[in-house]
């Protein structure tokens, strides 16, 4: 199962003016891969995910998906009047699934709570949860959709450094467990190096593919630092 993006160009309409956000972008990824899309703010990373998720249309080029994609926007999209579990199964409720199916799904969600570190918060409303917890609930919701690919849009951008590191480790753990493909958008170079097996570096708007980096799993501290430096230099060159 894979995602193919071929020569994708995307425009955004702002005050009647058409702005090019993505230009001639091509890449492919397989299920089981963890790919980061790295680039400066406003380079069209979110638009890329929205396009793959089918929230907006393709202007030029092709997006082909073999498998099911599940999108998790930057904002957690939790409804404040639903408790944790109900938020997690919300997409299925909205799809009008039968009660039996929903009960099964809730059971599944309950079993997953320890993996997501949410066990004690089962009965909580979103406002009672911290930012990190809310992102975990959002990911649980994404997980329960049972997709082959997760499209994650800067899930940790709003969190403090300590929580972010903790959640990065946790995300890798969940990813191994779920064995999906992850397309991870971020503007944080270290985060991209730490998490992914491949980095797609985008330019400033309109986003073009500048470079692709394959990251060895056995990367040492010094190698990681060198790679970070290299990416930084490449970004400043643009």
């Amino acid at each position: 199962m894979s995602i193919w993006v071929e020569q994708l160009t995307k425009y955004y309409c702002l005050n009647g003016e058409s702005i090019k956000v993505l230009e001639d972008l091509s890449f492919a990824m397989e299920k089981g891969e963890f790919v980061s899309v790295l680039g400066p703010s406003g380079c069209g990373k979110s638009t890329l995910l929205e396009t793959i998720a089918g929230m907006t249309s393709v202007d030029e080029g092709n997006v082909t998906i073999d498998g099911k994609v599940c999108f998790m926007p930057q904002n957690d999209m939790l409804l404040p009047w639903l408790r944790l579990i109900d938020n997690a199964v919300l997409p299925s409720v909205l799809q009008g699934k039968s009660n039996d199916e929903l009960i099964l799904l809730k059971n599944k969600a309950n079993k997953l709570l320890p993996l997501f570190g949410l066990q004690e918060f089962k009965q909580s409303y979103p406002h009672q949860l911290s930012g990190g917890m809310r992102q975990r609930v959002a990911l649980l919701r994404t997980y329960l959709l049972g997709g082959d690919f997760w499209l994650l849009d800067e899930p940790f951008a709003k969190l403090d450094a300590l929580t972010r590191e903790e959640l990065q480790d946790w995300l890798l753990q969940v990813w191994h467990y779920a064995s999906t493909g992850v397309l991870f958008v971020t503007h944080d170079i270290e985060e991209a190096i730490r998490l992914s097996s491949r980095i797609l570096l985008l330019s400033a708007r309109p986003g073009r593919l500048l470079e692709e980096y394959v990251i060895e799993p056995s990367l040492s501290q010094t190698q990681a630092l060198a790679l970070k430096q290299k990416i930084k230099e490449r970004m400043s060159l643009d």
């Binding site: 999108f71 926007p73 904002n75 404040p80 009047w81 409720v93 909205l94 406002h127 959709l145």
Partner: protein, 258 residues
Amino acid sequence: MKVKSNYLYPLATIVLLLVVWQALVTIFQVQSWLLPSPWEIGRTIVSKWDLLWQHSVYTLSEALLGLILATGFSLLLAFMMSAIPLLYRSFYPLLVISQTIPIIVLAPLFLVWFGYGYLPKVLVVILICFFPLVINVLAGFNAADPYLLRFYQSMGAKPLQMFRRIRLPAVLPYFFGGLRIAATYSIMGAVIGEWLGATKGIGLLLTRAQRSYDMPLVFASIVTIIFWSAVVFLSIRIWERLMLRWKGEQKVKQKTEL
């Protein structure tokens, strides 16, 4: 501690004002037909309890019926206005203009059209309660985050489910904000309706007492109106708290304080 002081300060202020009032009336020996003392008002309330209660029941029923009808009607109109843009554009200005017509001018017209009975009073209440409800509920229907709606739509959400699970609950805080304002006005609306001609009700009692310079009874009626308005307001506040438990206590306060 915080909750306690929320009640403590206004209560203390009221008590202080009553003491000052009582003292002034006693010291300057103000005649009771000019300004009765709080003590005398209290005595009147106790002695004329039956009378006040009888008329209260009538006024209360007018106010509540009007409030309920206004609620149903405004929910329906707000929903249709939010669903059909043409309706919104045609009715919104009319709604605002309708609020500039003084109710005191309309009420005598109702009297001419519908007589001295129950109906014109209920109509006045509906007219007064309608506006804050429609405006608030409309704001609630427009408040749902378009991105969130689009996000769940892209996941194959059914329109009916979207309405039930997302748009309707999002309206609730706004609805209660409007309902609280409407509720406080409802008793007043009924009283205004009764002023102009009625066979029963606190408003009638008030005008009669005024004409016979029975000031203690005038003030006793005013206290009764305040009391019932507070009861209606607080009942709705409790209902709101129950329905909006998902909001933190603090948040409910910040967002919907009058």
